[in-house]
């Protein structure tokens, strides 16, 4: 860590608010304190001690579409006076969770600001497509990212050289300088990830090109290409992870970024985390090379399981079996029928409701296959539970009613 060694201790308080409709909304609250140091040249460096509070929310209803938002505010200072920072992001994503191919596209808007004598703000929009393919212990992932926006900065500049004799230093008159510019970062990466037992290896050739403002204590502008080659080794056992990640900038002066991440579970929902980073310059966030370390405590509370799209929801036991509510959100259909092994494959008309088409049945214990006739056509959603090929190039859904506990 040499000259830029840093230590931060963050206590994270996570409040998981019980979702409205079973799981669709989750929020986290985090608070922390720490110190960060960064630099642009060997001769200059800056630091910030801060306290922070953050809020994060994810809305993940059944279906392809999800939304997320987060915001954080930090207040602190160093020997030069008070300082503050904020950042936030909000966006939506489409996630087709197919197997073995998954496609994810996220779009968001973001903004950030720093104030420490000078002021720096930036805002933009991000589009990040990703496609992954997995087979056996291999995961191949291609991801891209385009960020476009702008930055502005207000700097107090001196009208002349400082007078150093006699001490203390006295400064000449100063003036306020305003600058602004465009911010662009675009690039992509291919991740080759292989799992072998508890060890995960990742190789990620990546290339980015960016221009923008990366500030240090003297507000230097940075433009240019950022090529990266990176790799990581992760050791995992249950909920314990130990990961070391290394990345090297492809052009001189080559900066080597190393990230160490460890997460050790202590109890069911408590864990201790350790993060230590050296980072390359980042025009997107307006920061230069820096180093930080963080020790944290994490608490996670999941009130109830996260259900995927639920075609069949189990209810209470009755004398004849277990109540099951079938629901298909086929809002544009004029008729929907349910049929399966439990109906001797005879169609049963479903009832139209605000949430889609519904039918309530009582099924005996066992494994049952079923599907729907939507306007007379066989239909089983791609992410249906227990999807199984029917032998005739179509698919059935499966529901298992476990035997009643004795």
């Amino acid at each position: 860590m040499r000259r830029y060694g840093a230590l931060a201790f963050t206590l994270l308080c996570l409040a998981h608010v019980n979702p409205i409709r079973a799981q669709s909304l989750a929020t986290w609250l985090e608070a922390g304190a720490g110190e960060s140091r960064w630099s642009s040249t060997a001769a200059t460096s800056a630091s910030l001690r801060y306290g922070m509070i953050g809020l994060r929310a994810e809305i993940d209803p059944p279906g392809l579409l999800a939304a997320h938002g987060r915001g954080a505010l930090g207040l602190g200072g160093d020997g030069n006076g008070a300082a503050g920072w904020w950042n936030g992001e909000a966006g939506v994503s489409i996630d087709h969770r197919g197997h073995p191919v998954r496609v994810h596209v996220a779009a968001s808007v973001w903004g950030l600001g720093y104030r420490q004598g000078w002021r720096y703000t930036a805002a933009g929009a991000r589009l990040a497509p990703m496609i992954s393919w997995q087979r056996g212990g291999w995961l191949i992932r291609g991801r891209g990212e385009v960020n476009a926006g702008g930055w502005s900065q207000q700097t107090v500049v001196l009208a002349g050289p400082p007078v150093v004799v006699p001490a203390p230093v006295t400064f000449p008159a100063s003036e306020l300088r305003r600058e602004s510019g465009k911010l662009l970062l675009a690039g992509g990466a291919v991740d080759l990830i292989h799992a072998r037992g508890p060890v995960w290896l990742r190789v990620s050739p990546a290339g980015y090109r960016g221009s923008g403002r990366a500030h240090d204590a003297w507000q230097s502008a940075v433009e240019g290409e950022l090529g990266m080659a990176s790799g990581s080794v992760t050791l995992s056992s249950g909920v314990r992870w130990f990961a070391i990640h290394q990345a090297t900038e492809s052009r001189p002066p080559r900066a080597v970024a190393v990230r160490l991440h460890a997460r050790v579970a202590l109890f069911d929902d408590w864990a201790v985390t350790l993060n230590a980073d050296t980072r390359p310059w980042d025009p997107l966030h307006g920061v230069l090379r820096g180093t930080y370390a963080q020790l944290g405590v994490e608490w996670r509370w999941l009130a109830r399981p996260l259900e995927p799209r639920s075609l069949a929801t189990l209810g209470a036991w009755t004398g004849e079996g277990r109540a099951v509510r079938f629901r298909l959100p086929a809002h544009g259909a004029t008729s929907v029928e349910l049929l399966g092994s439990f109906t001797a494959w005879q169609p049963i008309a479903m009832r139209r409701t605000a949430a889609g088409w519904e039918a309530n049945l009582v099924l005996p214990a066992g494994t049952h296959q079923f599907g729907f006739l939507v306007d007379g056509e066989w239909h089983v959603p791609g992410d249906a539970p227990g999807s199984v090929e029917d032998g005739w190039n179509r698919r059935n859904a499966t529901i298992t009613i476990p035997e009643r506990s004795r």
Binding site: S47, L48, R56, L73, S236, S237, D269, W345, P347, T367
Partner: protein
């Protein structure tokens, strides 16, 4: 018990094998299960179904799965030749399920559920080992379908088996079993590899917690705030 004379049995078998199909069908349709298909399936499907149901009955296998398949084919307007092919394949899978479940007669009532799990690519060797270690009270149809769920999400057989062994060691709660694939799916969606997600759930179960008591995978989750110098 008085031994059955070998000659009359062999004679009856010879007569039936030489008899025209109509005679065999009449004899077989006395089985009450076949009443459900009368008039709903094509004659050639009915003939094949009769043969397969009789064979299943001799082996102690459930006929209901075969009858369901024939009815499914009729409901989907599948050509008879393709229905017959699917019936033969299902009969083979039922025999495989019976073999994997071993000789425990208490397990035979789960043959149909296990057959569906095998059709969903549940790994046979894992099915065999899990069945061998099951208690008489465990619903093996449900267990094996969760095994198939994990396999369909890319979890390797040995890893999936370990998850289910951890679930058993915790007390084999049927509701927890149903939630295991949901949690694994969630972790994979959050960025974990399938094996990583499954191992996280296994760890949660081995510590005595519910399947959901896992943390986010590496690189996911807080902290998200970025002070200067920290990207």
């Amino acid at each position: 018990m008085k031994p059955v004379p070998a000659f009359p049995v062999a004679f009856l078998a010879l007569v039936l094998s030489l008899a025209p199909p109509q005679v065999v069908r009449l004899a077989a349709q006395e089985r009450p299960e076949l009443e459900a298909v009368r008039g709903r399936v094509a004659p050639e499907v009915s003939r094949e179904l009769t043969v397969l149901v009789n064979d299943a009955a001799r082996r102690g296998l459930p006929a209901s799965a075969l009858i369901d398949k024939a009815l499914e084919g009729a409901a989907k307007h599948v050509p008879p030749a393709l229905v017959i092919g699917a019936l033969r394949e299902l009969a083979s899978t039922l025999r495989q399920a019976q073999s994997l479940l071993g000789g425990d007669p208490g397990h035979l009532r789960y043959v149909e559920g296990v057959a569906i799990a095998l059709q969903r690519n549940a790994p046979p060797e894992a099915v065999r080992r899990l069945a061998a270690g099951a208690s008489p009270r465990e619903d093996l149809g449900a267990t094996m379908n969760v095994l198939a769920d994990l396999a369909s999400r890319g979890v390797a057989p040995a890893t999936a088996e370990n998850v289910l062994l951890a679930w058993r060691a915790q007390g084999a709660d049927v509701d927890a079993l149903r939630r295991i694939p949901l949690v694994v799916t969630r972790l994979i969606r959050d960025g974990a590899l399938p094996a990583q997600a499954a191992q996280a759930v296994e760890g949660a179960l081995r510590r005595g917690g519910p399947p959901e008591s896992v943390g986010p995978p590496a690189g996911v989750g807080p902290p998200r705030g970025r002070p200067p110098g920290r990207s």
